[in-house]
Amino acid sequence: MDKIIEIENLSYSYPDGKQALSDVNLAIGIGETMALIGPNGAGKSTLLLHLNGILRSDGTVKVFGVPLEDRSLKWVRSKVGLVFQDPDDQLFSPTVFDDVAFGPINMGYSADEVRGRVAQALKWVGMEGYEGRSPHHLSVGEKKRIAIATVLSMSPEILIIDEPTSNLDPRAKWELIELLKRLEMTKIVASHDLELVKALCERTIVLDEGRVIADDSTHRIMSNTPLLQAHGLAPPRINGVQAQGSGQGPLPNG
């Protein structure tokens, strides 16, 4: 079995009836680095939440061939590490140590093992010595790294990250990209930051209105400008003249 995640006929609608995912089929191989791109509201985050069973609905999700159901939930969550977009959601403990230790403790490791894993995870993200700090004293970039460490400490087989570069300045962003490159497990990155996608991922999936629109190599998707434009991922075509507020009246002046 060389597929790490298989999704078949997955559909999901929000409690208010709005369709978020319709009939998604997807397979991700071991060791792949895949980007999930799409405009705001395309269903990227919703899809990610299905991959470790936080959301469940029609269709099947299999991890290493094991279907996601109540019995397998705990096991799946130890294999699939999900990093949320807002590090203030991901980091909920009074200290960095408690947060990075949260997963391993829940998995039932011994105290020594937990300490070792916390130290190792913080080392991977370059944040050694931050154990005793409080999350509200950290910068956004530092918080993002710690958020990744909270998942790495569980040594997942697959790392799923939602918008890793949002709110980061270019330097912090490129440092984070380098960090992600060094991590060797399977990765799924949801983003609409195309620079990140080009630098990190071999394969790209375009999602819009809950449907998989395209599934190809990153290179081919990135050179398909009409596709990107049609799904809000590239600047709109400029028709010879300056494309300025077509259909709108003049802006108020003073």
């Binding site: 939440l49 470790n52 936080i54 705990k74 969550r77 130890s78 590490g81 999900l82 949320f84 807002d86 203030d88 959601d89 991901q90 980091l91 909920f92 403990s93 009074p94 200290t95 408690d98 230790a101 949260f102 997963g103 403790i105 829940n106 998995m107 105290a111 937990v114 300490r115 005793g132 409080s134 999350p135 509200h136 004293h137 909270t150 998942v151 569980m154």
Partner: protein, 259 residues
């Protein structure tokens, strides 16, 4: 933004800061208990309690003015509750005043109770300030947990500590956005706007709660909270604990013997 108002000075380095949080929690609560149980007429005892706290403050290198200032926060609350006692308490009358159609009398025993409430509340809050300024909040939580405080309570406190700063930042951002659009106009309109902001804040917090829960579940949370403790009682804890409790007992007992 700088947030230090909950456990400011808790990263100083002193003998008191190094004690195990459990020692500090136990001695603080013993202190409050003894203070509350001391008869109100023993003012010498209260002076001694204060001296005991003052020496702790000096030992812990906290700026005395800061501690004093913070402790005054409690005064309005206590006054609001206790200010009417002297007027309603029956007993020997100190003075009687006519306010419009009302005859108001103040009694000695009423005044005594008022002083008693204020002094005890103030000493208690002073001891809590010493506790919270010499102990990191996270350590305090660990201590409370080890002392068998219900885990749900510890968790609520922990989330409060973590998210109060996030909430404050959110409020400040909303306020800035409001003021940048020339907030003004009629009073009713202002009140309505503030009401909307409070509602928005509640909804945002509620949604954040759901996302945080998702992040917990994603890391194997199943309703049971587990933490690692690295707390250890040292010899200093033993000496301090015994020394403090003996002092406390001596002051408390001396008041009983005087009676």
């Amino acid at each position: 933004m700088k947030h230090g108002f909950l456990d400011r000075y808790s990263d100083l380095d002193s003998f008191i800061h190094k004690l195990d949080p459990r020692t500090k929690v136990i001695t603080t609560f013993a202190f409050i208990l003894v203070v509350v149980l001391t008869p109100p007429t023993r003012w010498q005892a209260f002076a001694l309690y204060f001296a005991l706290l003052a020496s702790l403050i000096l030992l812990s290198k906290l700026p005395p003015l800061y501690v004093l200032k913070r402790s005054l926060v409690i005064v309005p609350f206590v006054l609001m509750i206790a200010i009417f006692i002297p007027f309603f308490r029956p007993g020997e009358v100190v003075g009687s005043y006519n306010i419009w159609l009302w005859e108001v009398t103040v009694t000695y025993s009423g005044l005594l109770i008022l002083w008693n409430v204020i002094v005890k509340a103030w000493l208690s809050i002073l001891s809590l300030i010493v506790l919270s300024s010499t102990t990191k909040f996270s350590e305090l939580l660990k201590g409370l947990e080890q002392l068998r405080m219900p885990k749900v309570m510890v968790m609520i406190l922990s989330f409060m500590y973590r998210y109060i700063f996030v909430l404050v930042a959110e409020v400040i951002r909303m306020k800035q956005a409001r003021d940048s659009r020339n907030f003004g106009g009629k009073r009713m309109w202002q009140l309505k706007t503030i009401g909307n902001m409070v509602g928005t804040l509640f909804l945002r917090s509620y949604e954040r709660g759901e996302r945080v829960y998702g992040a917990m579940v994603a890391r194997g949370f199943d309703g049971e909270t587990r933490t690692l403790s690295n707390l250890r009682f040292e010899r200093a804890d033993l000496y301090f604990g015994i020394g403090f409790l003996v002092c406390l007992a001596m002051i408390g007992l001396s008041t009983l013997l005087y009676l």
